[in-house]
């Protein structure tokens, strides 16, 4: 049922983009997070950080204008905006681990009710790509938003009581944005903040392992195109 009503990856990104305050310094991870920048208006003055040593990262390079010395952490040719800066990887991670980024948005495989995150390896997989910068980013960002599908391909909850996948960091997640809901990690557990259009709080609870705190009225997400 809910699987039919779920938002697209682009819509999850659009909703997550609304979480970024004007002027925020933000790191975006692989997957859905990488779609977010397209939904952030230029006038918001959000400044994107890439852990390979860029601040003020702009959109992907247009075809024919790629410069392979100017790539993001996903190896994709990007651009730099006026006011941007280059620095070394060690300085880039000084920014992540040192608490200098206002928000990071990462993909997730599992999030626990305490805000633990697992996002870098499926159990039993011989090789994931590796850890990369995820652990430093998860530990250090002032706010950590996880964007992901609410359930696995087999319909199993990804928001769980305890992560069973290899962990990225403990008690690091602030907010989860999925195709069904926006959920905040608060003292004592998880608070449902918004539901996707046409989805009820009960629908969300049904595919979420831990018990959600649900207010008398839960607003629907506002999205540009539904």
């Amino acid at each position: 049922m809910t699987l039919e009503r779920k938002l697209s990856r682009e819509q999850i990104a659009e909703r997550a983009a609304q979480e970024l305050p004007d002027g925020a310094y933000v790191n975006l991870g692989w997957g859905i997070p990488n779609l977010i920048a397209a939904y952030v208006p230029e006038k918001a003055g959000v400044i994107f950080h890439s852990e390979n040593g860029i601040l003020g990262m702009g959109p992907r390079a247009r075809p024919g204008e790629e410069d392979y010395d100017l790539v993001d952490a996903m190896k994709a040719p990007v651009t730099i905006l006026p006011g941007g800066a280059y620095f070394s990887q060690v300085d880039a991670h000084m920014m992540t681990r040192g608490g200098h980024l206002d928000v990071a948005v990462l993909g997730g495989l599992q999030v626990s009710e305490r805000g633990d995150l697992a996002n870098w390896k499926v159990p039993g997989a011989k090789f994931s790509g590796g850890i990369g910068g995820a652990m430093d980013i998860a530990v250090g960002s002032r706010r950590l938003i996880i964007t992901m599908e609410h359930v696995t391909k087999n319909g199993e909850p990804k928001i769980v009581k305890t992560c069973t996948y290899p962990l990225t960091a403990l008690q690091c997640v602030t907010t989860i944005v999925t195709d069904l809901a926006v959920i905040d990690v608060v003292p004592g557990g998880l608070q449902l903040r918004e539901v996707a259009p046409g989805v009820s709080p009960e629908d969300v609870q049904r595919v979420t392992e831990p018990k959600l705190a649900i207010a008398a009225r839960t607003p629907e997400m506002r999205l540009r195109a539904q």
Binding site: K43, G45, L55, P82, G84, Y86, M95, G98, H100
Partner: protein, 224 residues
């Protein structure tokens, strides 16, 4: 967009209140945030915790705040022979101070800025700076445990800023300023010049904007 540009040094330090901890850039007369220091003097906040390489040259630099008796506690590497007011107040028991080797002073700031709560270092082993510190042998070398050092405010001086807060410095006036920018909740910079966004080459920015919260344009570096 956040507006980081403040109309005056006084506006920029308006929330420096009693008991605040402050880092002050500068070394050997170069790169001191003298306008911001004087503004803290006018503001009159007391009982301050100062972190600085030195402790003033007569009434200059940090001497302003010692003369006003605004500072209660200091961490420094080289108070300096001309730190008259500081020395008087230490003798009178009015100021507490901790002496730290200079490289460790800035390394502790960097650790704070880099999210490293503590580190082991061989500097100071067997000397009076090791007193009260945990000692441990690492790969056969005696080391002591040093902790990260942060502050409520960093007051620094740069040559140019853009409105986002990217900074470049001038010659040896760079010194402690870039590392202090990374180690404070609020970094306030006084600059000779504010240039438009995009005017600084992204390859040559020394302090990227993420570390800078308030910018004030003041006069040249050595005006009185």
């Amino acid at each position: 967009m956040n507006n980081k540009i403040y109309p005056s040094v006084d506006a920029a330090v308006a929330d420096v209140s009693d008991g605040a901890s402050l880092m002050f850039g500068g070394f050997g007369g170069a790169g001191f945030p003298n306008e911001l220091i004087r503004a803290v003097g006018r503001k009159g906040a007391r009982n301050l915790f100062a972190i600085s390489n030195n402790c003033g040259t007569g009434e200059g630099e940090l001497g302003v705040l010692f003369k006003n008796k605004q500072i209660r506690r200091v961490i420094a590497a080289f108070p300096g022979p001309q730190s008259t007011y500081f020395q008087q107040q230490v003798e009178a028991g009015e100021v507490e101070y901790e002496l730290v080797p200079q490289g460790i002073l800035c390394e502790r700031m960097r650790a704070y800025g880099a999210g490293i709560p503590a580190f082991y270092s061989p500097v100071g082993v067997g000397t009076e700076v090791a007193q009260g510190k945990e000692e441990r042998s690492i790969n056969g070398r005696r080391c002591i445990l040093e902790s990260a050092l942060g502050a409520d405010f960093a007051l620094i001086r740069a040559l140019k800023a853009d409105p986002l807060g990217n900074l470049i410095y001038r010659k040896a006036a760079r010194n402690f300023n870039p590392v202090m920018a990374t180690a404070a909740k609020v970094t306030i910079v006084e600059v000779n010049e504010i240039v438009p966004v995009g005017a600084l080459d992204p390859e040559t920015i020394v302090t990227p904007s993420v570390f800078v919260h308030r910018i004030v344009q003041v006069g040249g570096a050595h005006d009185a």
